[in-house]
Point group: C2
Chain length 244, copies 2
DNA sequence: CTAATGCTATTTGTTTGACAAAAGTGGCCT
DNA sequence: AGGCCACTTTTGTCAAACAAATAGCATTAG
């Protein structure tokens, strides 16, 4: 058995070294990297090579750049939002080639959100309850879109669960589902959905894990049958992009 | 309220257009893009700019390049493995800045794997059972590492669940946990773990969803207490990378 | 004295052109 | 026929310059 060692290209090595510098704490979040020209000098490569490495790390949500004297390249704060965004795009692509289905998304959502709401019921604090209440009130206000008002509430639950992995998975799945469903749903569906939100909130307020999980399950099943069942796959057309 | 529209840089626009071409089916998986020089001509930009766009898409696991006449840039096949790899790296970074903890990973794993094994018990077919059996036998054979032999079994369960989102989430979490835990565990722990694997397999074989879930829960709790509890955060030292 | 305005320096963004390296392809020599 | 070598295509890297954006500073007008 021959170990075929991966040969890294120069720009990959640079990207790797910068990533290691971040992982090791040598470069901290928010810190500014030397200018590209200086980096090129330090690494002993040309600026385009450094730039390719930087672009890779920007794509991976690790760095961000801007022009100007106060600009430059900075180590981006690492939160789950950037990752969720990438995950959403990937899921959408996986969906488009049909290796995952809407049903898969729904059942993954159930797998995540039911334990999440259980944890939320146990770990919620005053801030969480306040945040949840706020999303509920705002949900009452805007009567036009049940799906849009759905996300903040569920997001707040994930936050209350104190597990950012739940937030991450939940957000990406929810965003993916949203790109697939109509922006418009029946007013009655919205009312039922909102009433269920209140029940879930009550269970969380009371710290009742089991009740919260039961209510969430019911809510998700309702959402699936009444809303997502009528989901219409968005047909996309991006002709004429200039590629042969 | 002023709508501050995002200004895209040239290379971002190029990356976007290529992505759209893929999403719309204009560029299919496995297809070869024109050479960089030709792309530059078509888009009316310079080659370095095109390259930066391509590097971004390579980083996002959408394209891959190689040199030579038969080389060039190809649209990469989209499977969950590449995404899982990215997710693993991200989780590891999130872990390093302590926005997620080992406990978060464990509880997310439970959230995913218990429903996954339930689905597997319902949907498994002959191929799945055969694959599971194979991982079990191989697990018996190699006596050196319980953690390594753990992954294939759990992966096979995710496959049997017929939901690639479970596979994706499970793999990334499992890989992340692995980078944190000792490579070495007690032989007794390994034996218990293997015995639990067999019980899970039996439940899946019998199509007994509830039993499979119960056994999995027990297995995960055991793994957590007996194995991961003694996890030692890997201290990394990447000094002298040449960054000031 | 203050506030607006424009200048300047710094840094990323983009272009041009060239050469290096890798890797199939085909022909030539044995 | 088989192996070796040169050629061709394509990505990878380098170099030097200019363009664009932007923050800070100085200058000037009110």
């Amino acid at each position: 058995m021959f170990e075929t060692q991966k040969i890294y290209k120069t720009y990959e090595q640079i990207a790797l070294r910068i990533r290691e510098a971040i992982a090791s704490g040598e470069l901290k979040v928010g810190e500014r990297l030397p200018p590209e020209a200086e980096l090129a000098r330090q690494f002993g490569v040309s600026r385009p090579t450094v730039r390719e490495a930087l672009k890779v790390l920007e794509a991976l949500n690790v760095l961000e750049s801007s022009t100007g004297p106060a600009g430059g390249t900075y180590v981006k704060e690492l939160d789950y939002l950037g990752v969720a965004d990438y995950l959403k795009d990937s899921l959408r692509l996986l969906l488009s080639v049909e290796v995952v289905t809407l049903e898969d998304l729904i059942s993954a959502r159930e797998a995540i959100e039911i334990p999440a709401v259980g944890q939320a019921a146990l770990k919620r604090n005053q801030d969480d309850l306040h945040a949840l209440l706020k999303t509920l009130e705002e949900g009452e206000a805007k009567d036009f879109d049940a799906l849009i008002s759905d996300l903040p509430f569920h997001r707040a639950i994930a936050v209350a669960s104190k597990n950012q992995i739940f937030s991450l998975f939940m957000s990406s799945i929810h965003m993916t589902v949203q790109t697939l469903t109509r922006r418009y749903v029946m007013p009655e569906a919205k009312e039922t959905s909102q009433a269920q939100h209140w029940k879930i909130y009550e269970a969380i307020l009371n710290g009742n894990k089991e009740e919260a999980e039961v209510q969430m399950k019911e809510h998700l099943h309702f959402a699936y049958h009444e809303v997502y069942q009528q989901a219409i796959p968005r047909r996309e057309s991006f002709k004429g992009t200039g590629l042969s």
